[in-house]
């Protein structure tokens, strides 16, 4: 019997090394798991990278994968969280025809109501940016797609946990 799939947000603190993306994504690939989104950035600690990965799977598999991620030599620590345990944002940008801004008055209301922001306007096109939760971005996408979207891009999720991630303490014990 298939167990229930849940969405998990994984935070992985790593050294900043070439090839680590390959090594981490391979752990998901070998279990035939699709990565919904992945983001790499600097973290609160100097010279330590943080990966934020969103995946859908059972909690049992999630735990095993965390173990296999942490086992990698250049991974310092990995955590997994459900949506209620994190504060997260995703970001997206839309490129649309400039005429729409004047012909379809509704668009201005949609932008205002969704707390989106116009980044730039020129004669040919204008660009809207929106950060928020997944559902908000999906809603905005639905509303704007009626008018025709020239280009759309959405970022990977970035997240912080409500609970402390004791990563700095771990590094302290390792450094000394």
């Amino acid at each position: 019997m298939e167990k229930e799939l849940k969405q998990f947000t994984v935070s992985v603190y790593t050294e900043n090394n070439i090839g680590l993306l390959n090594r981490i994504s391979a752990i998901f690939q070998r279990r035939h798991i699709n990565i919904e989104s992945i983001n790499s950035s600097v973290s609160e600690i100097e010279n330590v990278s943080k990966w934020t990965i969103v995946v859908n799977l059972t909690e049992e598999r999630m735990k095993k994968i965390i173990g296999q991620i942490e086992k990698q030599v250049e991974v310092i620590k990995a955590y997994y969280h459900t949506e209620t345990e994190i504060i997260y944002q995703e970001s997206c940008i839309f490129k649309m025809k400039s005429d729409l801004l004047f012909d379809e008055r509704q668009i201005q209301n949609i932008i205002k109501d969704s707390n989106a922001r116009i980044v730039t306007v020129n004669k040919q096109f204008f660009v809207i940016e929106k950060s928020g939760r997944k559902e908000e971005i999906e809603l905005l996408h639905r509303e704007l797609s009626v008018f025709g979207i020239m280009q759309f891009t959405r970022s990977g999720r970035i997240a912080v946990s409500k609970e402390e991630m004791k990563i700095s303490n771990i590094l302290k014990t390792i450094d000394h």
Binding site: R30, G67, E70, K71, I174, D175
Partner: protein
């Protein structure tokens, strides 16, 4: 390289020497105590080979006949000695030919460092001649890998490579070095790696877990130990023996765990798993406490997990936290090195005998002996069995030989029937099941332990996958004893076809060459046995030979290996016929 290694001590400021990258590599190998390496030259690694030529009185390069052979030889070297095995190859096909051995070392936790040449850094990504992304390719099958593009990186990366390969749960590391970095000069100094901040080699053992484990063990009525290679890799043989002897627990081994204690030890109840012994498999589902030590509950060990030891409380002594609860849910996990954790638990363990429980193993052994073992070792039919060949080897070796096996029926027979008095004596491809492993691994084993008798047992299939390494044996004068148990079939696959595919023998029958003539072509002493009357004398002749010796034994064509747990069945549903 961005990864932080533990800070070097400021006081030991070493003098530097101006060296090329390629000479630095050889100097790093020497600093790590490497005196033998296995490899195959080619364009992108030629500067290193030029240095190996200059340093040939200090470091012995063994030219194998294929890069795969180099990795397996390095594995054999590592498995018998506990040292890091080293293989070296050129870029492109040289590098990709290493992959099977690397994957084998990864799944069997064998310490190995592979060095590959790479095209010059300005050519990376340009589809240059013999360019392949070996770092990308090897990522999923290495413990760690790294590409060096500047000579100045060499000392730190090499030190880290050896540290990672041998520490904690060992594994293979691949270092790829561009040709320009091999030529580049820099100021060389070497310091061994003491630690990597993001990598914890051995997890701390929790005092409470030891107490909880001891409590379960002390109150158990029917405890069973299943040990794996972790006991050997952790050099915990003595601590393990002390533990099981004090607690009086019958103990079974996985294929890679065998030889940690002698075969004849009264608490050694045999092998678990698909072709393991009857008693430990059946009684896995009757024990009340299952104590797993340095093993990983491979599917070939557990059979169907849904019916595996469900009645038992499970204790898992393990160095790799990712193995805990991976396949079997544990009640108590004791993390750490087996040597330390077993020593630490000993004072907490009450002395016990478990005499009645141990009798259950004897009773089931008697059944297995009657139905399987007797016929394997003392057959009454005309055709020779693989088992009786092993019996003759045991008689001649007195259990002192290291047995290197390939993969298939003969491997199961070798592991079931070989006698071992010494640890690190069973060298086989367990997790990956790599046919072709045996012959080159035996070369590495013999070179690492020239004082020991090394007997390589192959089937006619696997032998032909790396048969060209006979050339290495001849050139190196490695006194390996080679036994091919020839049934003119890919025997294990044929057995499955017989049992599960209605005897449709799809591509398992082999039309074989004259193996004796081939061995003689490499100037080896060689002999073929087809009759029982000749067997004992032929094995004796082989074992007494001071040089390499090839013995082909033509065995019954369609014998099967039993007991057997069919795929998906429970360990207690093990078949005796």
């Amino acid at each position: 390289m961005e990864t932080k290694t533990i800070q070097k001590t400021k006081e030991t400021l070493q003098k530097t020497e101006r060296l090329t990258g390629s000479e630095a590599i050889v100097r790093c190998l020497l600093a790590e105590g490497v005196n033998t390496l296995y490899g195959y030259p080619g364009g992108a690694i030629m500067p290193v080979y030029d240095e190996l030529y200059k340093y040939q009185d200090k470091i012995h390069h063994v030219l194998t006949r294929h890069e795969q052979g180099a990795t397996h030889a390095a594995q054999g070297y590592a498995r018998i000695s506990g040292e890091v095995g080293v293989a070296i190859a050129t870029s492109g096909p040289g590098a990709t030919n290493l992959i099977t051995g690397i994957a084998d070392a990864q799944i069997d936790s064998t310490p190995m460092v592979c060095i590959t040449g790479q095209v010059a850094s300005h050519l990376l990504g340009s589809d240059a001649f013999q360019e392949t992304d070996i770092v990308g390719i090897s990522t999923p099958v290495t413990k760690w890998n790294h590409q060096i593009t500047k000579a100045s990186e060499i000392p730190e990366v090499m030190a880290k490579a050896f540290y990672i390969a041998r520490s904690g749960r060992p594994g293979p590391v691949l270092i790829d070095i561009t040709k320009d970095a091999q030529f580049e000069e820099f100021d060389f100094s070497y310091e061994k790696c003491k630690g990597v901040r993001s990598y914890k080699a051995v997890p701390k053992t929790d005092e409470n877990s030891l107490k909880a484990a001891a409590k379960l063990i002390n109150t158990a009525k029917k405890p069973l130990v299943v040990w794996g290679q972790g006991v050997i890799l952790g050099e915990a043989e003595q601590e393990f023996k002390n533990f099981i002897e004090k607690a009086g627990i019958p103990s079974a081994w996985t294929i890679l765990g065998v030889s940690a204690i002698p075969t004849e030890h009264p608490l050694n109840v045999g092998m678990v798993g698909m072709h393991g012994n009857y008693a430990p498999n059946v009684l896995t589902n009757e024990c009340d406490v299952l104590i797993a030590i340095g093993m990983r509950f491979d599917d070939r060990v557990t059979g169907n997990l849904a019916t595996y030891a469900k009645q038992a409380k499970v204790i898992h002594f393990e160095i790799d936290p990712a193995e805990v609860d991976k396949n079997v849910k544990t009640n108590v996990a004791v993390l750490g090195n087996a040597k330390e954790s077993l020593a630490a638990i000993l004072p907490l363990i009450k002395k016990n005998e478990h005499a009645i429980w141990r009798r259950a193993f004897d009773d089931l052994y008697a059944i297995e002996y009657e139905k399987v073992i007797k016929n394997d070792l003392y057959p009454t039919k005309e055709g020779l069995t693989m088992g009786e060949v092993l019996k003759e080897i045991n008689i001649q070796s007195k259990g002192e030989a290291a047995i290197v096996s390939d993969v298939g029926q003969h491997q199961m027979i070798a592991c079931r029937y070989a006698n071992f008095n010494q640890t690190k004596s069973n060298i086989t491809s367990g997790g990956l099941g790599t046919m072709g492993f045996g012959l080159p691994a035996a070369i590495g084993a013999k070179m690492a332990a020239p004082e020991r008798e090394v007997v390589c047992i192959c089937g006619d299939g696997g032998y032909q996958m790396t048969i060209q390494e006979l050339g290495t044996i001849f050139q190196q004068r490695a006194a390996v004893k080679i036994v091919v148990l020839n049934n003119d079939f890919l025997g294990m696959v044929r057995q499955w076809q017989q049992l599960f595919f209605d005897k449709r023998y799809a591509s398992t029958e082999m039309t074989n060459p004259d193996f004796v003539a081939i061995a003689k072509g490499y100037h080896l002493n060689a002999r073929r046995v087809t009759k029982r009357e000749e067997l004992a004398e032929a094995v004796a002749e082989m074992m007494q030979s001071k040089e390499a010796y090839f013995l082909e034994v033509c065995v019954e064509k369609e014998d099967n290996v039993f007991p057997m747990i069919p795929t998906g069945a429970s360990v207690s549903d093990i078949r005796l016929s």
